[in-house]
Every structure is written in structure tokens, then in C-alpha cells.
């Protein structure tokens, strides 16, 4: 009998899904993914989470509710650090506890701690700890991981190589992966731009090595992985000047964005005249406000062609 492993379609799923999926499948497990975010998942999440939490965390709760009855295991790793000397948002570290104490009747949770703060060598041990739920053979587990990692790397590269057609305008839409790629949460913002015949780029399309090199030049210690990626991206864009506008998607109450969003905005406004707009999402699902802001932003970007010289950089 195959074992079912549930992966909630939320938070770092958007970053690591190819890896996780391939790893579990290589070990002979069946991966059950929660549905794409919908009204029910959204509402379930809001109902079952502490009020103060941010929406991505609430959505995670909703996605857990969506699959918890169908699976033998739920994969909710305790992600403390995914790069050396860097942390990640505190809520990710306490996620298994948040779920355990908020939702009843859960299957077994695989809550292995992923902590690469001191060194990346520990990853083997972590992988074995996750794998032991499905196989006793350590070699088998590690080989499953290696193959999965290879696939993950290729997928990432394919994303970088995705070149847009040479449309007239190019807009960077940045933010955490779970803000950018959850289309229900961001009300299809990416598509809305594409519908206006705009090329959309995201931080995932830039080579991470380039991003890291730029981030190194930043004054001050960027000890959050998200911060390094987004600030590196910003510095790259400001230096190359290869986009016509920058959109930052954030959610209300996001602790990381309260810092990173501010640093990004100040950097762009001071060092360039690229138009910038911060879109903050919350529990509203009315699209009119977002539409208006996107339209106004694009109008402004296009007006620049005609009146290049005297438009201020304030989106």
C-alpha cells in the first residue's frame, strides 16, 4: 500500500515544490497536494488561525484543513534557516506548533527541523530524518534526495531561461514567492499586467548568483534569506535600469516586509527614477481597488514615453 504525504499548497511550497514532490515520489510515496487557494480554503484559514497572523500563515492553515483527512502524513517542516548565517521569518520556525495547536484531528506531522544556519553539511541528516518515515535504507533516501535536487535545480534554471517576447514595457513584480504565485491571494496581479501587453519579470527569473553579488554590496547585515533576495534584486534593477517599473507585493502585517519593503522602496527612490508601487494585500477580495491602481500605474509608465523629463518617480 502506498503512503500518502500531504503538502499544503502555501508558503514555501511555491519555492520548493519540485524538490519535495520528486523526493517523496522517489521514495515511493504518493504526494497529495491541497487544491489551489479558493474561497473555502481562505475562509477556513481565517477561522482557524490566531487573528494577528498574516494572511499567508492563515492560508497555510486553510490548506492543511483541505487535505488533512486524506493523508497519512503531513509535511510541515520547521524551516529555521535555508542558507548559512541566514534566518527566515520566525513564523516559519513555529509553524508546526501553530498548526498542532490550532487544528484538531491531524495526521502525523513530519516536522523535521531544517536549519542550515551553522553549516550546509547538516542537510544530509535532515534529509534522512524526513526519509526515515518511508524507507530504512539511508543510501536509498540520499539518492532519492539527490535526484530530486537535480530536478529542482533544472526547474529553477528553466525558470531563469524563460525569456519574454520583446514587448514594449517590462515590469518587475517582486515579493515573496507565496505572494507572487498564489493567484487567488494576489487577485491575478501578474496576469493583469500581462493582459496590458507588458512583460512581467519576477526575482525568480534573475540568476541567484547575480542577486547575491549585489546583496553583498549592501551596507548592513541582511540576515534574512528573503531580505537578501529582494534587496539584491532591487540593487540589480537599479544598477542595470532594465525595467520600466517595479511593483512590490506585500501582505498586511508581514513582519519581513515591514523592513524589507521599506529598504527596497527607499533604495529605489533615492538611487533611480524607476516608478515604484507597493501593493499591500489583505483579507479583502474586492478587485476594483487593485485594478485601479494597476491601471494608473501603467498609464503613468506609458506617459513617460511622451513626457520623459518631468514626471516624478512616485508611483
Amino acid at each position: 500500500m502506498t503512503v500518502n504525504v500531504g503538502i499544503p499548497r502555501a508558503l514555501l511550497y511555491y519555492e520548493y515544490y519540485p524538490l519535495w514532490n520528486a523526493f517523496f515520489e522517489n521514495l515511493g510515496a504518493k504526494v497529495v497536494l491541497s487544491e489551489k487557494t479558493n474561497k473555502k480554503i481562505f475562509d477556513d484559514g481565517i477561522k482557524n488561525t490566531v487573528d494577528e497572523a498574516c494572511i499567508p500563515i492563515k492560508l497555510f492553515h486553510g490548506h492543511v484543513m483541505n487535505i488533512k483527512d486524506e493523508v497519512d502524513y503531513l509535511f510541515i517542516p520547521r524551516i529555521k534557516s535555508i542558507a548559512k548565517d541566514e534566518y527566515i521569518c520566525p513564523k516559519f520556525c513555529g509553524l508546526p506548533e501553530m498548526i498542532k495547536h490550532a487544528i484538531k484531528d491531524l495526521p502525523t506531522i513530519i516536522s523535521t527541523e531544517i536549519n542550515l544556519f551553522k553549516s550546509t553539511k547538516g542537510i544530509k541528516k535532515t534529509v534522512c530524518e524526513v526519509g526515515k518515515y518511508f524507507s530504512d535504507d539511508e543510501k536509498n533516501i540520499l539518492s532519492a534526495y539527490e535526484r530530486a535536487y537535480y530536478k529542482y535545480r533544472n526547474d529553477k534554471k528553466a525558470m531563469q531561461n524563460k525569456r519574454n517576447t520583446e514587448n514594449n514595457k517590462k515590469i518587475m513584480i517582486m515579493g515573496h514567492p507565496y505572494h507572487l504565485y498564489d493567484v487567488y491571494l494576489n487577485m491575478n496581479t501578474l496576469e493583469k499586467f500581462e493582459a496590458k501587453e507588458v512583460d512581467v519579470v519576477t526575482p525568480e527569473m534573475i540568476d541567484i548568483k547575480t542577486i547575491n553579488e549585489y546583496a553583498k554590496k549592501f551596507e548592513g547585515n541582511l540576515y534574512w534569506t528573503f531580505a537578501r533576495k529582494l534587496i539584491g534584486t532591487t540593487m540589480y534593477l537599479v544598477d542595470r535600469k532594465n525595467v520600466d517599473g517595479i511593483i512590490y507585493i506585500s501582505t498586511f502585517g508581514c513582519g519581513v516586509d515591514s523592513v524589507v519593503g521599506d529598504l527596497v522602496e527607499k533604495y529605489i527612490r533615492r538611487k533611480s527614477n524607476i516608478p515604484f508601487m507597493l501593493l499591500t494585500l489583505d483579507e479583502h477580495s474586492g478587485e476594483a481597488g487593485i485594478n485601479t491602481r494597476i491601471e494608473a500605474f501603467m498609464d503613468m509608465v506609458k506617459w513617460r514615453d511622451k513626457f520623459e523629463n518631468n514626471i516624478p518617480a512616485h508611483g
Binding site: T49, I57, P90, C93, G94, E219, Y223, D262
Partner: protein
């Protein structure tokens, strides 16, 4: 050179004493007030937590009073406290203030202490480690004295026959401290006020409710942010115990030294059933101390957190389980820029009513 630092409860008394011992002129920021909050909010990122905004306000108010060197907390934590100095530096620079910054990293090893001593040298011009060590020891002493004084206040306030008498002593204490200079004068002021406190006529046999306060350290120790909750509860006849206080916090940073002992391991042990890892900020302490308050048969716990505080949000989702398992009522209060206290007061009063009823029922059974 005139040095200043952000407020965090009564920590200013200690910092002032230590720096004055080292021969540095100190300009403590004015006591946190509405103006501090307004200036702070004006220049801070919109959604950042309240301690950040208040400290920005503190810096600016001190600079206006003539301070030219800032002493601030740096380093790296899972939560955003490690980003404070980067953004605050930038804010102050942009406002055109020409000031020197001294950041202290958390003491995780003796090496960090050495780094700190080098920074101290740039401030005081002394490499006389004996002098620095003496000042440091005096600082630890002051820290303990101030916190012991506060604890005594919290014990006497609910039992005093004349309400307001403790507050009067406290007010005078603060006035005198501001005028005192150096360790000796400060320490004497504390002793004198302590004596006055002990002379207050109290009802020794009064059966008072006991409430433990847990949460993020800044909201627990800074009366302006928590709307003077400790005082309000005290005057309602409740003995308040604060779980995270400045002296304990500093001790935890230094407990690798052989002569310093903190409660850290006990707190972590108490938390281990619910949260067995560090997730930044004071979340683990919140969990551990709530468990401990439950085991010590406190009547209730109040959980304080700044709006959008990431670690405390995790803690607050675990607390309902502890509330059930340890049978201790918990009231969660989220603090932000709201300075009107009526709403909070109503909630606290309702909570206290509930605790009283519970106690009555327990006795009658």
C-alpha cells in the same frame, strides 16, 4: 561627548549609572510620551513594530537635547530586532543628524565582549579594564537593585491602605534619580525610596489576586507602551509578577560567565512540551513562563505583544492549549499606537472580575 540610549522601562537608570562611572556625560531621553510616539511614527516604516517607533522617538528627542552619540542594540536574531540599527541609522542620517553610533552585539562569546570593550574605548578613551570591570559590576548591581525595587513596589501597591501612596513614592523616586549622578548617588536613592516604601502602612493579611505578565520584553517593561498596566493592576489590588525584566534579560546574555546565573534553562524546560526551540524574540519565554505561572498557582496570566510581532504570534497560537491544560485564564492584549486606554481598561476589569469569581468558587468548593 554626550551619550544617549533608547528607553526600556527602568534600564535607563542602570545605563546612566554605568556611563557616568566611566566618565561619560549622559543625556537620557525624556520619559516616553505622546510626542515620542508621534515623532517615532512619523519617521518609521509604516508596519514596523511599536518598540522600533518608540526608540526612534527616543533618539530624536535626545539628540534635540544635545546628545551626539547613540548607544544601540545590534546583532542578528530571527526576528526583526537585528534590522533596527540598519534602518534607524538610515532614518537619522536622512534627517541630517550628525551623530556617532555605538552598536552592541549580543554577547554570545568572550570574543564579543572584547569587541564591545574596543567600542567602549572609543567612547571613554580608557583601556583601563579594571575600571571598566568595576563599572560593569556596579551596573549589574544597579540592575538587580532597580528590579528588586520594582518588585517590591508591585508587592506593596495592592496591599497599601492608602491608595496612591506607592505612586507618590515612585514619582519622587523618578524625580531624584534624574538628578542623581553616578553609581553611589543612584544606589542611595534606590535605598532611600525602598525604605519609604517599607514604611507604607499595608494590610499584611490581605488575600490578593496574583497575575503573571508574559510577552515581548519591551511591551512588558515599558509603561508608556503597556498603558501603565502594571500600576493600574496594582491599584486594582492585584499583585503583578513580570516574567521578562531587564535584569533577567541581561543575565541571560551573560550567563556563560561563571558568576552569573539566569533562569533560562528552567524557562526553556518548562516550555519544552509546547515549543522546544528558539524562534526569535521572547516567544519561548512566553510559553515557558506561562507554564510556570500555571504551576505556581497564579490566578491568571496577561500576554502582551506589539502588533505584528512575529514570534509572539506563534506563542499566542500555542497559549490556548496551555490555558486548558494548566487551567489558568490568559488574556491577550495586542499593543500598538493606540493611546486611549478605556478599551483596554474595560477588558482588564472584565478579566479581573472573572478571576475573582473563579477564586471565590474555588474557595467555596
Amino acid at each position: 561627548m554626550k551619550i544617549t540610549f533608547p528607553h526600556m522601562g527602568n534600564l535607563y537608570i542602570v545605563l546612566k549609572g554605568v556611563f557616568e562611572e566611566l566618565g561619560v556625560a549622559v543625556i537620557p531621553p525624556p520619559k516616553c510620551n505622546r510626542n515620542t510616539l508621534e515623532i517615532g511614527t512619523k519617521y518609521s516604516p509604516e508596519l514596523i513594530c511599536i518598540p522600533f517607533k518608540i526608540t526612534v522617538g527616543n533618539y530624536i528627542e535626545s539628540i534635540e537635547k544635545g546628545a551626539d552619540t547613540l548607544f544601540m542594540w545590534g546583532g542578528c536574531d530571527i526576528c526583526r530586532i537585528g534590522f533596527y540599527n540598519i534602518i534607524q541609522k538610515d532614518i537619522l542620517k536622512n534627517l541630517g543628524y550628525d551623530i556617532k553610533l555605538v552598536t552592541v552585539e549580543p554577547f554570545k562569546s568572550p570574543k564579543e565582549i572584547h569587541k564591545f570593550l574596543e567600542k567602549l574605548y572609543t567612547l571613554t578613551g580608557t583601556r583601563n579594564y579594571l575600571k571598566i570591570f568595576a563599572a560593569f559590576i556596579k551596573g549589574i548591581k544597579l540592575l538587580n537593585e532597580v528590579d528588586a525595587f520594582d518588585q517590591l513596589v508591585n508587592k506593596i501597591r495592592p496591599r497599601a491602605y492608602n491608595k496612591g501612596e506607592v505612586d507618590r513614592v515612585y514619582y519622587q523616586f523618578e524625580e531624584t534619580i534624574n538628578k542623581a549622578k553616578g553609581y553611589k548617588e543612584i544606589s542611595e536613592t534606590i535605598k532611600k525610596s525602598k525604605k519609604e516604601l517599607q514604611n507604607i502602612h499595608i494590610d499584611k493579611h490581605k488575600d490578593v489576586l496574583k497575575i503573571g505578565i508574559v510577552g515581548e520584553i519591551y511591551t512588558v517593561v515599558e509603561p508608556f507602551i503597556n498603558l501603565d498596566m502594571i500600576k493600574k493592576l496594582g491599584n486594582m489590588g492585584i499583585e503583578v509578577h513580570r516574567s521578562v525584566i531587564a535584569s533577567e534579560f541581561i543575565k541571560e546574555q551573560l550567563d556563560f560567565l561563571p558568576f552569573i546565573h539566569s533562569d533560562k534553562s528552567q524557562v526553556h524546560k518548562a516550555a519544552s512540551d509546547y515549543l522546544n526551540t528558539e524562534i526569535g524574540g521572547h516567544a519561548r519565554h512566553t510559553i515557558g513562563n506561562t507554564v510556570r505561572f500555571g504551576e505556581q498557582n497564579f490566578d491568571g496570566v496577561i500576554h502582551l505583544l506589539p502588533f505584528t510581532c512575529m514570534p509572539e504570534i506563534v506563542a499566542s497560537s500555542i497559549l490556548p492549549t496551555i490555558e486548558k491544560e494548566k487551567d489558568i485564564p490568559i488574556l491577550k492584549i495586542v499593543l500598538d499606537e493606540m493611546t486611549a486606554d478605556a478599551g483596554y481598561l474595560t477588558r482588564i476589569e472584565a478579566f479581573v472580575d472573572l478571576l475573582e469569581k473563579r477564586k471565590e468558587m474555588k474557595i467555596s468548593v
